[in-house]
Symmetry: C2
Subunit: 156 residues, 2 copies
């Protein structure tokens, strides 16, 4: 049995456990240097937090474990292909590799919107279902200007 299979099975077990706790059927683990450093399961409806997806929870825990906002060199094992929120969280966390079980079509087959959200993110701003409007661009740039002029800052 491969290490990848072992770690993904742990994520799948978390997905099943999540169901028993009243959450959605999703679980994830983060592995670095052969060790699990973060675990997560879906807590959206339990915590009233729409961002509490398994992958986000696992990333937060892993970062706490190693006291860093970068998980460079780590692998995410997740019971389902990440939605675009979680995929982008993976990029922000600088994770190198993702191993997943279900795909977005499977998620759609049981009523989850991941596939629709991928379509929405890929659309031009004016073609999305959510209304988006840009105003005050010049005022908003003031904080960006301050950031770019800061000499002592933590980039991420």
């Amino acid at each position: 049995m491969s290490l990848d299979e072992n770690f993904l099975r742990e994520a799948i077990q978390l997905a099943t456990k999540s169901l028993e706790l009243g959450g959605g059927p999703f679980g994830a683990v983060i592995v670095k240097d052969g060790q699990i450093i973060g675990r997560g399961h879906n807590r959206v409806t339990v915590d009233f937090d729409p961002t509490a997806h398994a992958e986000v929870m696992a990333i937060r825990e892993a970062c706490k474990t190693i006291n860093d906002f970068s998980l460079k060199g780590a692998t995410l094992y997740t019971s389902c292909e990440p939605c675009p929120m979680c995929l982008t969280a993976t990029y922000w966390a600088r994770i190198d590799r993702i191993v997943y079980g279900n795909d977005r079509a499977s998620a759609a087959s049981i009523g989850f919107d991941d596939s629709y959200f991928y379509d929405q993110v890929n659309k031009k701003i004016e073609e999305r279902d959510v209304l988006m409007e840009q105003i005050l661009a010049e005022e908003a740039f003031s904080s960006f200007k301050k950031w770019s002029e800061l000499e002592d800052k933590t980039e991420y």
Copy 2:
């Protein structure tokens, strides 16, 4: 001065405040029925949490305020166009409208990766810079099957 401008100015002020606290230059507020119900600023490097973007923080706080995982009917005001993580979080939260100041090109001009991440999310899985691999699809589907068979569940 319009209400939209007032609320976006509050988000821009949070972006500037975030800088002073050592975080990235991003702020956001969530408004429902004319009231601010959530505020957030970037805490990635302060909290060691790559998911702690202003919009995610504001969504979490707004959901806590109204004890619900849905923000249907709310507007997100954010000092910068949301990255794909935050845009998708907005969709999961069922927010109707987004008003923003800076855009992804402005963010790129001061060194942030939002634009690159949009390109990555839009790519086919096998063409992304992050390695992605699907295994154990059948085993992973077991928790999905259990979910679809549950009669008493909270959908989101």
